[in-house]
Symmetry: C2
Subunit: 506 residues, 2 copies
């Protein structure tokens, strides 16, 4: 393919993406294909001779498009958002176009240096303590990793490194292997599955302690776990807290857990993968109080901050422990700039790195701080709108509501909610997934796409309601309803929690 | 940014990349910026309000471009190639445009299924044993990972899992922790630094055994290491072999090492990160003889096969051990297609995954098998051309030559070669890096860019020669030269190895 063909193919592909976004609202969210569909459409082996780009683009439309579940559809409400924005898509393309690998400073100075500056911008945007930033005097700093999974694992490695070092310094008679075999880590049973996986990857038992009824890990629970483990000769080294848990977007209390970790020499990691973006808005920063007690902090701009996957921001208070856990210096990686710019390959799993800072820069420049704040506030408002709609229907109960996530269910046995989920899945007009909260099956409804507006939320709710009608008819329900209260212009059932004032959020 | 602006920005960015490739040959390969340059060009904080895309593209040109080391320049000869091709760049952009995350089959069936088919295409292209392929009856299969570093680490995790399981089955009285603490892994001192890192990540000592004078690990060395370790009660579980080592592109002999691993129950991993692409050409497949004895195999289409970073192809003979090392099933990841399509999240570190199969598909479709073979053969021919040029200059010695990599040095003390490297670095017209071979400092010269042609190789050599003139003048050398032999039309010094017949490769 020569340069001229690239110009043509590239522009056709840009139009293809633009057309896709102009029609995405009309597509069923979920794909209708059956497992194995694609293998039947493709030959069994690679073609011997090349094909034209026109053929390729037609095949994308014919073969790939039917097999997509449209994450950017305004009625995709599953998981948490995975960001997508036009500036970010173009940042990704330019990065691919340059085709460099930032494995050291000299391998492309702009790769390392833009990342340093972007991590400073981002840290300031969230009002993180100065000591986490590259621009501070100390040993702290930020880096873009691929995912929160990677970060949680890397944090664990650093925590192990630090604990082994600390104990051996305090008691030189100790053997390293004896310490390593006794290390233990904690998180709550509400943390993401990747936290448990990090324990498997890092060969450290990751104990998932029970959260309280609000989905938070308490200091009391942690303290008791530490006590028991220490009694058995184990060595606690790492706690993964969540600011915005996966099931319900609950926030652990860092002011409560932090001092305990600091006192016990436990590395405190804060996983704010989704909700961290909200700290761009000053009114939500109270939820991260105590972050100065943490050793590492992570959030994913690729979730809620309009930067395409992958872009996971990680800060550490002391990068020394990362570097020492990783550093393998060989001559073919030699360079003369150590110390003047971080050698990020020693902060991460892989040697090579894409230019992820570029798409982040594009998003911050083109949206500006105000654009991102507007995006966050708008999505939280849409979640409130949805919550109000659910609360007006007495067949449902809202279980939790936090940031852009509402969990709810049909009152009564779990099988009612399970049937509702099945019906919604079959119709493919919206995409929601199941969760568990307080021992009950719930539906997680997240505002995900940046395209979602008030009408979309109304449509998604109408879809849910219409399918619920086949399970619990409205008429039956009206008879069952015992308590009604009126708040403002809404008629609310007894499920309405006092603290919600729907009329205010409209 | 609305859809119309995206069309404009996107097309301008396509043209920007096209223009870049049309001018790349004229740019100095290495960047001239000083560490910290970029921080001085950017504000200290993110902009409060958004900027126009025109401003952003201008800033790319003004701020980023001077800080790039041009990996796709035809005179970039450092490390190994990092692939870049137009079809691949567009695949990356479309994948970003769709903005899905393939964390399960239903999360976008095309993501999983195209990857399954592409890994079959690729495996057949390399003539891998059937049992590694997804399309075989057995438990084998292929997956795209991010890097060879990740793969080596994941292979180690699977190897640990298997060894623990095997030993506990054989002897139920054994305790898991006792086994884990005694595991040990091997590779050669010629393997990539990521292999040593994998040991650190996986908490298993990775012993780097001395390679022979050809850069290969011998069965004799491995056998002795196993014997010693077993004597000390250790449990060997993992061997990382290299087909194409990083320093010199040497090939371990799988037919020699494989039976030993199989007999000892050691997981045999084959790292063919760079050179694996050569197996697309039947004439190089003799170098992977014995691959059927391996448990896992890896090569990076993002190195030599024209697919943009990241795209690292991994196959395992039994995926069960991967899945068991990783599997953390939670309700919010529930789906109904287990068994019908692989759930790749259980084969890798992160939960989320980009649509990397798309760019691989684009490359295979647009180049075709013949196009890729032509690319590989052409680059090997260029390396031969370079080797012949070096051999004609009696001041130099060629140390190794394999695939697209030639290592060479100025005869005599290392400091001559070191001075030459410094001069080349300062002039920034070509980019080569240092290596060590047989205790001597060498220069690694790799054919990297798909744009490199015979004239570029001549120019790169002229640059090296001109800088050598300031260190060892031609005249002096002529007096020192003792032995000369003539092969065909070339005058060769005593460093010319018998087996090379330059005239044949011209």
């Amino acid at each position: 393919m020569d340069v001229q063909e690239f110009r043509e193919f590239g522009k056709a592909a840009v139009d293809y993406i633009a057309d896709y976004f102009e029609t995405i609202r009309d597509r069923p969210v979920l794909s209708s294909v059956k497992p194995g569909y694609l293998g039947e459409l493709l030959p069994k082996e690679a073609p011997q001779t090349g094909e034209s780009w026109q053929d390729v683009l037609q095949d994308v439309d014919r073969i790939i498009m039917p097999g997509l579940t449209h994450w950017q559809s305004p009625r995709f409400h599953a998981y948490y958002p995975t960001a997508n924005s036009f500036p970010s898509v173009i940042g990704e393309m330019l990065s691919a176009g340059f085709g460099c690998v930032g494995l050291s400073w000299i391998a492309s100075p702009a790769y390392t240096e833009l990342e340093v500056v972007m991590m400073n911008w981002l840290g300031k945007l969230l009002n993180l303590p100065e000591e986490f930033l590259n621009c501070s005097e100390g040993p702290g700093g930020g880096i873009i990793q691929g995912s929160a999974s990677e970060v949680t694992f890397i944090g664990l490695l650093a925590a192990k490194e630090k604990k082994v070092k600390d104990l051996m310094e305090a008691n030189p008679a100790l053997k390293e292997t004896d310490i390593r075999g006794k290390l233990v880590a904690y998180s709550s049973d509400q943390s993401n599955s990747s936290v448990e996986k990090a324990g498997l990857l890092g060969s450290v038992p990751m104990k998932l302690l029970p959260a309280n009824e609000s989905g938070q890990l308490t200091a009391e629970t942690l303290l008791e776990a530490i006590r028991q483990d220490k009694e058995q000769g184990l060595i606690p080294c790492y706690l993964v807290t969540s600011l915005g848990t996966t099931p319900t977007c609950a926030f652990d209390d860092l002011l409560e857990l932090g001092p305990l970790c600091n006192r016990e020499g436990i590395w405190l990691h804060v996983d704010a993968a989704y909700a961290g973006t909200a700290f761009v808005c000053p009114e939500y920063r109270y939820l991260m109080k105590g972050v100065e007690l943490a050793d590492s902090f992570n959030f994913n701009p690729h979730k809620w901050m309009l930067v395409n996957f992958d872009c996971s921001a990680m800060w550490v208070k002391n990068a020394k422990y990362l570097v020492e856990a990783f550093n393998v210096q060989r001559i073919y990686l030699k360079d003369n700039h150590n110390g003047l710019a971080p050698e990020y390959r020693h902060w991460q799993i892989s040697l090579g790195r894409r230019f992820r800072a570029l798409k982040l820069w594009f998003v911050l420049k083109i949206y500006g701080v105000e654009g991102i704040q507007k995006h966050v506030r708008g999505q939280i408002r849409l979640a409130k709108q949805f919550e109000c709609l659910v609360l007006q229907d007495g067949r449902f109960e809202v279980c939790t509501s936090s940031m852009g996530l509402v969990t709810f269910r049909l009152k009564g046995d779990n099988d009612l909610t399970e049937r509702l989920l099945e019906k919604l899945d079959q119709r493919k007009r919206i995409f929601v997934i199941a969760g568990h909260f307080g021992g009950k099956l719930v539906i997680r409804f997240a505002i995900c796409s940046r395209l979602t507006n008030g009408d979309d939320v109304d449509l998604s709710w109408a879809e849910i309601k219409s399918q619920a009608d086949g399970i619990v008819p409205m008429a039956d329900l009206r008879e069952e309803m015992k308590v009604k209260r009126s708040i403002g212009s809404f008629e609310l059932t007894d499920t309405a929690r006092e603290k919600i004032r729907c009329e205010k959020s409209k």
